[in-house]
């Protein structure tokens, strides 16, 4: 079992001259600039979009900001709308997404927004393109490109993620429409093993998707979600996470993916949802940072955590604990439920509630922005925000 003292962030990183995610030393006269142009060993992993990919990834991984995940498929969005008594119509989905993207000043805390395909091509209720509204807010539009999870034959009832067929032309079309990053979510289940097969498939699929995305101008967000389901302890999650990330990076390398132009979307290292032993934010931070330090090369600009069923406040506290000391990569958030939950409830589908709902969204966005800077204090959080959002066997 891993001893806690080994998991403390190494003091080598505690030097005061470190600035989060950026330069190590004060500029000296004979310095060679490496940013923001793509690094030279680049032709090793070339694509005509290389410089743009690096620039986009860096823009998303900017201090004090994270991603708003609003790419719920129509079916999943339907569940959200149903929870506030609304019918799952295009008009309602459009109204809800308009509310989100138009929240005034959202771009202060949000650097990127992941959209579902319908939304990428939609207009707001006042007729502006969703994509344009986001860009005006200084938020990079992204697009979910996977086609969902299906059963993995030959596995122990595990899933794999579909979507590679025709991915190249689709990605090119999304780029034309204004998307600049992509997202592909695959899952790994601890109660089901995970089997070697499931882990390899997850990693390989991500690597292929990432290579195709970069080839078509989209920064790939690499998301192997290790599901919260299960009664396993935090050490077991740690083991599995290390295995998964070792596979992912090896296959990304074999597929010649350029690491300066990707983002990661991992799950934090926590006990399973049904484990009797809970973990404090400090423990989650220690385990998760240890995982990152042992598996993630510093060329990757940003690590945007998923919330996976944690409550709004939990997700913020855990992120804050991870940002108490400088990290070699931008450590931030890519939250859906943990940003939208209270906002959705406040809206309830009524136009007169839009302002309050947007306010609620901004409160969560700001809290997570502070957490990214390691400055979140948790003052004034509502009971609503502390409610857990874990749903067993959750299907997106």
């Amino acid at each position: 079992m891993a001893s806690a003292s080994l998991l403390k962030t190494s003091p080598v990183l505690d030097k005061s001259e470190w600035v989060k995610g950026h330069t190590l030393r004060q500029p000296s006269t004979s310095v060679v600039r490496c940013h923001p142009v793509a690094p030279p060993g680049l032709t090793v992993r070339a694509s005509s979009y290389a410089d743009e990919l690096v620039k986009t990834a860096k823009a998303i991984a900017s201090p004090g900001r994270g991603i708003l995940a609003m790419d719920e498929s129509n079916a999943t969005c339907g569940k959200r709308l149903a929870s506030i008594g609304l019918e799952n119509t295009e008009a309602n989905r459009q109204a809800y997404r308009t509310l989100l993207v138009s929240a005034p000043g959202l771009g202060q805390y949000i650097s990127g927004a992941i959209l579902f395909e319908e939304t990428l091509y939609q207009t707001t209720i006042d007729g502006k393109k969703m994509v344009d509204v986001l860009v005006e807010q200084n938020i990079v539009p992204g697009i979910k490109v996977d086609k969902g999870l299906v059963p993995l034959a030959g596995s122990n009832n595990e899933s794999w993620c579909q979507g590679l067929d025709g991915l190249a032309p689709r990605s090119a079309a999304y780029y034309q429409q204004g998307a600049r990053f992509a997202k592909w979510r695959t899952v790994v289940s601890i109660p089901n093993g995970p089997t070697e097969l499931a882990v390899k498939e997850a990693a390989w699929g991500l690597a292929r998707y990432a290579a195709i995305s970069q080839d078509n101008g989209l920064v790939p967000i690499v998301e192997p979600e290790i599901l919260l389901d299960g009664d396993h302890g935090i050490d077991r999650t740690f083991e599995v996470a290390k295995k998964v990330w070792a596979e992912v990076f090896f296959y990304l390398a074999q597929n010649n993916v350029m690491f300066e132009g990707i983002l990661l979307k991992p799950s934090m290292v926590t006990p399973g949802a049904e484990c009797k032993d809970r973990a404090t934010p400090q423990q989650v931070a220690d385990y998760t940072l240890s995982l990152l330090r042992q598996r993630i090369p510093p060329a990757v600009p940003g690590i945007m955590f998923l919330s996976g069923g944690q409550s709004e406040v939990e997700a913020t506290l855990n992120l804050n604990a991870m940002n108490q000391a400088p990290n070699p990569w931008h450590v931030s958030f890519s939250y859906a439920r943990a940003l939208q939950n209270t906002c959705l409830k406040k809206w309830g589908g009524r136009p007169e509630n839009v302002k309050d709902a947007q306010e609620a969204l901004l409160i969560r966005a700001k809290a997570n922005s502070l957490a990214q800077l390691g400055k979140y204090t948790g003052e004034g959080e509502s009971e609503e925000a502390k409610q857990g959002m874990f749903v067993k066997g959750y299907v997106y």
Partner: protein, 357 residues
């Protein structure tokens, strides 16, 4: 399974971190008897134990040089040797806060079916040997794997074989209290350009870290000894800043931050070249979460050896030459080298085609 956390874990982490102290580096003085013979014959000195002992004594008693070093890699014979007044070398090093290390591999052999690619030997009784070395005072080990660049090289077989070998060696060391220095050297030999070297180095390092992870090696208790990314020996030279950029990019793409230090091999570069390249890397304005330092053999000893020429009367001057190189490289690890310790000898290329240790 997660990383192996045995009884030596805390000690391994502590020692690896100490070796990676900014401003310090490693003297690779682990030339096998055969190889040191070549060095000695180049200065017309007979390859007998007393001469080997005299050379190493010269190095380890150089006034002030040891403060630039955090570790010295020794060959087995040297681990048990003493100075002329009977003081064990290991004691001198320890008294000066220099950690003794030990070469544990038993050389390379060709892999059948490849075009001269090699794998490294040395697994038999490695655990037991490590225990003995630990008892004798060693706290880190070194194992050199070699890959070459050619039209079809390195092959997938050679990469996998060497990566697995390094990982197995590394975990055995950690089980027995020695910090493993992981050395996957990509040889400079060839007409290829720096981009080719970069591509190969990145591929090799990705495979090495995959293997280390699969073998549950505790990365915080290891060090990496890679080649710098340079043009091939038959290709035009480039500026240190270019070498620095390609090298640091390759490392940023492959080496997780848990690794405390990267100690470069010099591989045939002249003393001055090696220092300048190391300095350029440390001046680069990009985030490097591991220290970048040296583990030099020839690039620290060349002028010292020539100045000594086997004569007692030259020891003082030879030690000065050694101190000069140590200081230069110490400054280079801090990005503060201002040049100027390049005497004619320091600029001499040390490249030997098809070099065999």
């Amino acid at each position: 399974m997660s990383a192996f956390v045995g009884k030596y874990a805390e000690e391994l982490i502590k020692n690896a971190k100490y070796i990676a102290t900014p401003g310090k580096g490693i003297l690779a003085a682990d030339e096998s008897t055969g190889t040191i013979g070549k060095r000695l014959s180049s200065i017309n000195v007979e390859n007998i134990e007393s001469n080997r002992q005299a050379l190493r004594e010269l190095l380890f008693t150089s006034p002030n040089a040891l403060s630039c070093l955090s570790g010295v890699i020794l060959f087995e014979e040297t681990l048990y040797q003493k100075t002329s007044d009977g003081k064990p070398f290991v004691e001198i090093l320890e008294e000066n806060n220099v950690i003794p290390g030990i070469k544990v591999d038993k050389g390379t052999v060709e892999i059948a079916g490849t075009n001269g690619e090699t794998t490294t030997q040395g697994f038999d009784s490695l655990g037991a040997r490590c225990q003995q070395y630990y008892k004798a005072g060693a706290r880190f080990a070194k194992w050199r794997a070699v890959l070459k660049i050619g039209p079809n090289e390195p092959s997938e077989l050679a990469i996998q074989q060497n990566a697995q070998g390094l990982a197995r060696y590394a975990i055995i060391c950690q089980e027995n209290g020695l910090v493993p220095i992981v050395e996957p050297e990509v040889l400079t030999d060839g007409p290829h350009d720096i981009k080719k070297c970069a591509a190969v180095t990145e591929t090799v390092l990705a495979a090495v870290y995959k293997a280390l992870n699969d073998h549950h090696v505790l990365l915080e208790g290891t060090l990496l000894k890679p080649n710098m990314v340079t043009p091939g020996s038959d290709s035009p030279k480039v500026a240190p800043e270019v070498i620095a950029q390609y090298t640091v990019t390759a490392l940023r793409r492959t080496v997780p931050p848990a690794v405390p230090g990267i100690v470069f091999l010099s591989g045939g570069q002249s003393e001055e070249e090696a220092t300048q390249n190391l300095d350029a890397m440390n001046k680069l304005e990009v985030l490097k979460p591991w220290t970048l330092s040296f583990s030099f053999g020839r690039a620290l000893q060349q002028s010292t050896l020539k100045t000594w020429a086997g004569k007692k009367a030259n020891v003082g001057k030879a030690q000065e030459a050694f101190l000069s190189r140590c200081k230069a490289n110490s400054e280079a690890t801090l990005g503060k080298y201002s040049g100027g310790s390049a005497g004619g000898l320091a600029s001499e290329s040390l490249f030997v085609e098809g070099y065999k240790y």
